[in-house]
């Protein structure tokens, strides 16, 4: 029995007894298994905070939806996290999960992301990225501008671990927590995975 080098599809080679029916059946089923394995699958993206209290997405509207597909070593992923009416953004930096860990040996990969802060300046979006590094497994670091006027980026956080948390998040929103009910975090992208 021979197999193709990448997907391992079976085919008859010369040492075998001739069995055309079995040959076609094996090949058809192996191809089907490969095609179905690349179908879109669901996952739940999870946010966690590095400080205490912990992030907790609760209340009306809270939702986490994710889908992904893997083909030829690439993972396409879409995620949408809506913050519920009583969300607690926690303290310290926030992390977001991907469905699969990024490929070992690539030091960083970046996935476009968008944050919506509904109560700031009448409701505005922030252009950011999820930073995927092999050492964190499925965890990524969402990075956004430090503030509306500071182009540097930092790890998304609703508030720092200090005593006066409102307005201390990233991005910094004057007088407000960065994670607020009705807001959301969305991301779409493609990244390399193992093997």
């Amino acid at each position: 029995m021979g197999t193709t080098p990448l997907f391992g599809w079976r085919y008859e080679d010369l040492p075998e007894d001739p069995d055309g029916q079995e040959m076609f059946k094996d090949l058809a089923e192996d191809v089907e298994a490969t095609l179905l394995s690349t179908a879109v699958q669901s996952y739940t993206p999870v946010i966690a905070s590095t400080g205490t209290p912990a992030y907790a997405n609760t209340g009306t509207g809270a939702a986490e939806v994710g889908r992904y597909a893997v083909r030829n070593g690439w993972c396409d992923v879409v995620g949408f996290i809506r913050f519920g009416s009583t969300v607690g953004g926690g303290k310290g930096g926030l992390t977001v999960t991907l469905p699969l860990a990024p490929r070992t040996g690539i030091s960083e990969q970046w996935i476009p992301a968008r944050l919506y802060t509904p109560a700031y300046q009448g409701g505005v979006w922030w252009d950011g990225q999820l930073q995927a590094v092999p050492g964190l497994g499925v965890l990524t670091v969402p990075r956004f501008h430090l503030s509306e006027t500071d182009i540097r980026t930092g790890q998304l956080q609703s508030a720092d671990t200090g005593a006066a948390p409102a307005g201390s998040g990233i991005p910094a929103l004057t007088g407000q927590y960065t994670i607020a009910g009705g807001g959301y975090l969305a991301f779409n992208g493609r990244y390399r995975v193992n093997p």
């Binding site: 055309g20 029916q21 076609f24 059946k25 090949l27 058809a28 089923e29 191809v31 089907e32 095609l35 179905l36 690349t38 179908a39 879109v40 939806v65 889908r67 597909a69 083909r71 396409d76 879409v78 949408f80 809506r82 476009p112 992301a113 968008r114 802060t117 700031y120 300046q121 505005v124 979006w125 922030w126 252009d127 501008h145 503030s147 509306e148 006027t149 182009i151 991005p171 959301y184 969305a186 991301f187 779409n188 992208g189 493609r190």
Partner: protein, 183 residues
């Protein structure tokens, strides 16, 4: 004639007439059809939101396959382009999945008197619309819906990005948006 359970790929069983070439052809065609849900690199002529007219050019391409749509759209502004009022948006070739309220893609915009801006496309769930978000002004980095003028139609001075002395949609400028989204 046997078929696989999931995708119905045909294979010759014992009841079939012995025709090796035909069996091979059937299997090859079925695999190809399953792999390519539609023809790749179809062209797309995107439409601009109802308030704008007078493009020099609109171009688009897309490939819709296996639940994902890759696309790119460019809109170039000419001397008679009018930017209209309120939020600007472009039509997508295929409706986005309703599972997500919004999906993310990259967008860029050029105003020849001012410079380049990086923004994002907001692919609205369950629709074939992509709204464009751009920095609020030359100094504010948060994004708002891209617009040439507000509801009153005052331009310059009420657009996004805010340019007190320049029009947002201006001859020689352009906007590009593209990426991959779930359908």
């Amino acid at each position: 004639m046997g078929t696989t359970v999931g995708l119905g790929l045909r294979w010759a069983d014992l009841a079939s007439t012995a025709k090796g070439p035909e069996a091979t052809m059937n299997l090859a065609n079925d695999v190809e059809a399953a792999y390519r849900s539609v023809a790749a690199n179809a062209t797309n002529n995107p439409t601009w939101s109802a308030t704008g007219t007078g493009f020099v050019a609109r171009e688009g391409w897309y490939r819709n396959r296996n639940g994902w749509c890759d696309f790119g759209i460019q809109v170039v502004f000419g001397s008679s382009t009018t930017g209209g009022r309120m939020s600007l948006q472009v039509a997508l070739p295929v409706a986005a999945s309703a599972l997500f309220d919004e999906q993310v893609c990259e967008a860029s915009y050029y105003q020849p008197q001012i410079g380049h801006f990086k923004g994002q496309g907001r692919i609205m769930g369950g629709t074939a619309l992509c709204r464009i978000a751009m920095p609020a002004s030359l100094s504010l980095q948060y994004l708002k819906d891209w617009q040439h003028a507000n509801a009153a139609g005052t331009s310059p001075g009420t657009g996004v990005p805010l340019m007190p002395s320049n029009a947002v949609v201006y001859n020689g400028g352009w906007m590009c948006v593209g990426g991959r989204y779930m359908v």
